[in-house]
Subunit: 203 residues, 2 copies
């Protein structure tokens, strides 16, 4: 279900306006935090009238929830493109890990916003991770079905793999954005490959 | 360096007073968040005079930083005891993962407080994880030296293993505190064991 509900814009112009509001919100909430952020500043930076804002959102709270959902969707779409055409499940993991760190480097406010969501809207916070985990587990289950991944418990594994990406993103995306991530991505992917794949499939 | 600096109490009575303040702060900051929390409420619940509070802390900010450091130290001490006597590195991982989830279940406010720390005191937030990661990497390096863990890149691995615990703690410590964690801990540990250990050491 979208946080926007029935207010999802139907015209290209409406979608552009909504995009401008969400982009301005990402910067404003990221720089000032939820409580200090102001709708007036967001609409000002977006070049959108306040009246227009209220066509889409009832409140700052609702905008914040929609922004968290939007960031999650964009991240998933970014990862989806990055792993398209990967030749194996482990290549999906490697590309996914690398792209996640890249996405975090491009969206420096992502963690701040998602973490603050725990306080502003705990349900949206939980949904953000649960939705990711569900998709992850489905992917793993498919890889188990094709024999690319060893049979076994996949829920905890999915959660573990998500934790790996999130923590690698915290350190190498936010705290060390200039770091060469190739050796780290390779080292972690090697651990995941041996952890997940049948022995005989490895060189 | 301790957040308390030279104010660390030297008498048993002083240490008990400090403990009471920190325990009350854990409840107050966890329940109300940093901004809504009040020193008067913390000292009231701790049964300590406000004048006494200011012997130890200059401000609510400083108390918050000290609390984050204190939670980190208690967690590390808890994990240290839990893994003492483990017969192998992988047993350290299994017991560490399980005990971490247990600690989170006992300290329901841990995540809230540490995550809010990102906004209140970003340096303390970063130090909290960097200190953990350094200790983790040292342990892994030792296990590589004894041959219990395959040689290879250990920094990214440490960070990945920390992410696994933190995310398992979020889901199974906070969101699903009644869940039987045995199958999940086993499933994740199996992945870690295969990921880290030399092939020949596994049954």
């Amino acid at each position: 279900m979208s946080a926007l509900g029935e207010k999802t814009p139907k015209t290209a112009r409406g979608r552009r306006t909504l995009r401008k509001i969400l982009d301005a919100a990402e910067l404003e909430f990221g720089a000032r935090g939820f409580h200090e952020a102001s709708v007036a500043s967001i609409t000002g930076n977006a070049g959108v009238a306040q009246g227009t804002f209220y066509i889409y959102f009832e409140s700052k709270e609702q905008l914040f929830g929609a922004l968290v959902e939007d960031l999650g969707l964009r991240l998933r779409s970014y990862l989806h493109e990055a792993v398209a055409g990967a030749g194996s499940r482990i290549e999906v993991e490697r590309r996914g890990l690398r792209s996640f760190i890249e996405f975090v480097r491009e969206h420096g406010n992502l963690y701040r916003i998602v973490m603050e969501c725990q306080f502003v809207d705990p349900e949206a916070f939980r949904a953000y991770f649960m939705d990711f985990a569900d998709a992850y587990q489905e992917g793993l289950d498919r890889a188990v079905a094709t024999g690319e991944v060893r049979a076994g418990e996949t829920e905890g594994r999915s959660w573990a793999l998500m934790g790996i990406s999130l923590f690698a993103g915290l350190r190498y995306g936010i705290w060390e954005p200039e770091r060469d991530i190739d050796p780290l991505v390779d080292g972690i992917t090697d651990m995941i490959e041996r952890g997940l794949c049948p022995q005989e499939s490895r060189p």
